[in-house]
């Protein structure tokens, strides 16, 4: 137990230090694959552990943390396998900086793992900050003006968000301090234990700041502006991790505070905010998906839209809480697959402009098939995973006090689907300019997205009992 947690947080960090000075690409790759495999094994051990378990005052694992950690682990492993040919024969862009890529990637993994096992709000905050630091150099992988702009925006916008989140954490500290100056500290369990006596004004102010602050990092509108730039400029495996794993980490940080609000009897206040920001994100995401000509930006805006779906699910509450958490899982898996496939297209065609890409079905037949499947899945069509989670949220809304939320929800999802399909499907059609199969389609660059696509199909038909149990426990902790 303790060993497994130390392993998932510490091992990637140690390997990152080990390969920092290593010049040989193969040596770095061996370290990367080893760390990813060890991380996956450590996470598997944690699935057998009794939940929740606490270790010391700072670290612990519960259903919610384990969910996020598992997604990080699986996606990281998939992205690692995908990166092997990426790094071995260079990329489509000569102006890249591979030496620091592997160490930063591992540091990123370590920081995200720390987020998922943090049981102290101050440590949680520091870990989220660390994910920003570790991922910034990854976005600036291609030394181009465009990626520099994206990195600058990412740092500035997310730093402001992170500063607001810290202020929110302080506000919570004020809310939990008794008039005689006795404070329980910022440990999650300690705060939850005194939740009933929290000062409501300060708690509400804290939640607003935390939602806006961490929400910046999660990609909730109106502070999502960094997201399309960063996700479109980063190398594809990094985009997959940013969208599939990092956004969940920010969501987890918000959910920690949400759990406190629920315990303090302020759930309704938090849910109203979730609904507001969720619908705004859905609206912004859907509007910018329509007519989007850059297919990587398209996927990024789809992330904004899907974060909106999750926030709406949390706002609707009740049974929809389960749906929101399930959607977190589904979105991560399918979006990671989409970004990896977009990477294959980018390597074959050398452009992210959708109008300049024709005949993917001929040139990259496997990728095109998977892309079609994943596009239907992210659009919420049956029989894929996102359909199940979105329909759960929809029924939750229809059964609740305000059914028109459900109607608006479905309309916006429909618009988003048209946006995604309208850009992605024309790319598959037509004659390939160069003709013949492209060397970009290798076993490893197709294997990862295929495995992720398989998971999405499987979750549409059947949710494993252990996962279902985990989702139920996590939802129960959030009052759902």
């Amino acid at each position: 137990m303790t060993g497994a947690i130390c392993l998932v947080v510490g091992f990637p960090a140690v390997v990152a230090l080990g390969v920092w000075r290593l010049r040989a690409v193969r040596g770095q790759l061996a370290g990367l694959i080893g760390a990813a495999a060890v991380h996956l094994a450590g996470t598997a051990v944690l699935w057998r552990a009794p939940l929740p378990t606490r270790i010391g005052s700072l670290i612990g694992i519960d259903a919610l943390g384990l969910l996020v950690l598992s997604l990080v682990s699986v996606l990281f492993f998939a992205a690692t396998l995908y990166s092997v040919p990426y790094l071995l024969d260079g990329t489509h862009d000569a102006a890249s900086a591979p030496q620091r890529f592997v160490p930063c990637l591992l540091a990123f993994l370590s920081a995200m793992s720390l987020v998922s096992v943090s049981h102290n709000l101050a440590l949680l905050w520091a870990a989220v900050e660390a994910t920003t630091l570790a991922s910034a150099p990854l976005i600036y992988f291609y030394r181009r003006p465009g990626s520099l702009e994206a990195t600058w925006k990412y740092l500035l916008v997310c730093s402001v968000g992170i500063a607001l989140a810290l202020l929110g954490t302080f506000f919570l500290g004020v809310a939990s301090t008794a008039p005689d100056g006795q404070a329980p500290g910022l440990g999650l369990d300690q705060v939850l234990a005194v939740a009933a006596s929290l000062d409501h004004r300060w708690l509400r102010a804290a939640f607003v700041l935390v939602l806006v602050g961490y929400g910046t990092k999660m990609g909730l509108a109106p502070l999502h502006t960094w997201l399309p730039d960063a996700h479109s400029q980063a190398p594809s495996p990094v985009s997959a991790l940013l969208s599939g794993a990092l956004l969940n980490c920010a969501l987890l940080a918000i959910l920690r505070f949400y759990a406190i609000c629920v315990a303090a009897g302020q759930a309704a206040f938090a849910q109203t905010l979730f609904l507001g920001l969720g619908f705004l994100s859905l609206l912004v995401g859907a509007a910018l998906l329509l007519g989007q000509r850059d297919y990587k930006r398209l996927l990024a805006y789809s992330s904004v839209e899907n974060m909106g779906v999750i926030a709406v699910g949390l706002g609707v509450a009740g049974a929809a809480t389960y749906g929101a958490l399930l959607h977190m899982v589904n979105h991560s898996v399918v979006k990671a697959a989409l970004f990896l496939l977009a990477g294959n297209v980018l390597r074959a065609y050398g452009t992210t402009v959708a109008d300049e890409v024709h005949g993917v079905a001929r040139r990259l037949p496997m990728s095109a098939a998977l892309l079609t499947l994943a596009a239907f899945a992210i659009g919420g069509s049956p029989p894929f995973g996102p359909f199940v989670s979105e329909i759960t949220i929809f029924f939750g809304a229809m059964g609740g006090s305000a059914p028109w939320f459900g109607v608006a929800f479905v309309v916006l999802l429909g618009i988003a689907f048209v946006g995604v399909a309208g850009t992605l499907f024309p790319m598959l059609d037509g004659e390939a300019a160069a003709g013949g199969r492209s060397p970009a389609e290798r076993v490893l660059t197709v294997l990862s997205p295929a495995a992720l696509a398989f998971i999405v199909v499987a979750f549409g038909l059947y949710i494993p009992a252990r996962l279902d149990d985990l989702l139920r426990r996590a939802a129960a902790a959030l009052g759902g």
Partner: protein, 218 residues
């Protein structure tokens, strides 16, 4: 009743207002250094308001750290970037200086209004602490949004962080040391990495005007 802490907190707001009102980058950075000095003195002043006693080791260390980083290290780094990039003034800010100053006045008023309604459940040595913290957060925001130069945006972020730091100081007696550590970490990393980014921006575009960074849009 006005104590040393009150005077320092008022000076903090004035320094932030000065940054909003000036267009010279060097003056802006120097004002942030002044804020750093004030923040260095603040932990000790807050303890003294409870009675004349020798400052605790805790307050001393905090003061020393804030002084070193916020008053010396970061301003020096920023001034060096200004020299290297050869920009002296904010040319064509997003919002004109007059509009910025008007906005700043409104924000400070809002901070005081909020501060009156959000009273702390425990005594912190100065009634100005919450309004000053909020005013700095809001003015920092204003600087980030209203200016184009990367340097001014970093200074704006510093002001915002100083506001968070001041609030953390009020809490320091009741919450464990993690609070202050995280503030210092925040400061170190946020600006340090931005410093690196500025270096790259000035290398790539030959200047530090973030309006050059607008190729990524719809």
């Amino acid at each position: 009743m006005s104590s040393g802490a009150d005077v320092l907190l008022a000076a903090l707001i004035v320094a932030a207002l000065y940054m909003v009102a000036t267009s010279r980058l060097g003056a802006c950075v120097r004002a942030s250094a002044v804020q750093g000095i004030i923040l260095g003195a603040l932990p000790v002043a807050l303890e003294w308001t409870h009675g004349p006693q020798a400052p605790s080791l805790h307050a001393g260390l905090l003061a020393f750290g804030a002084l070193g980083i916020k008053a010396i290290v970061i301003p020096r780094l920023l001034l060096r970037s200004i020299r290297e990039a050869g920009v002296r003034r904010e040319v064509e800010p997003m919002a004109s200086l007059h509009v910025s100053i008007l906005g700043a006045a409104i924000l400070v008023a809002a901070a005081f209004w909020l501060g009156r309604h959000m009273d702390l459940p425990f005594p912190v040595g100065s009634r100005l602490l919450v309004p000053a913290a909020l005013a700095n957060v809001l003015l920092g925001f204003l600087l980030i949004v209203a200016r184009r130069q990367a340097i001014t945006q970093v200074v704006g972020y510093l002001v915002l962080e100083n506001g968070v730091f001041v609030f953390g100081l009020g809490l320091a007696a009741h919450q464990p040391i993690v609070v202050e550590l995280s503030v210092l970490l925040d400061l170190l990393v946020g600006v340090f990495v931005m410093g690196v980014a500025i270096h790259h921006i000035s290398e790539t575009f030959d200047h530090m005007d973030t309006t050059a960074l607008v190729s990524l849009r719809e």
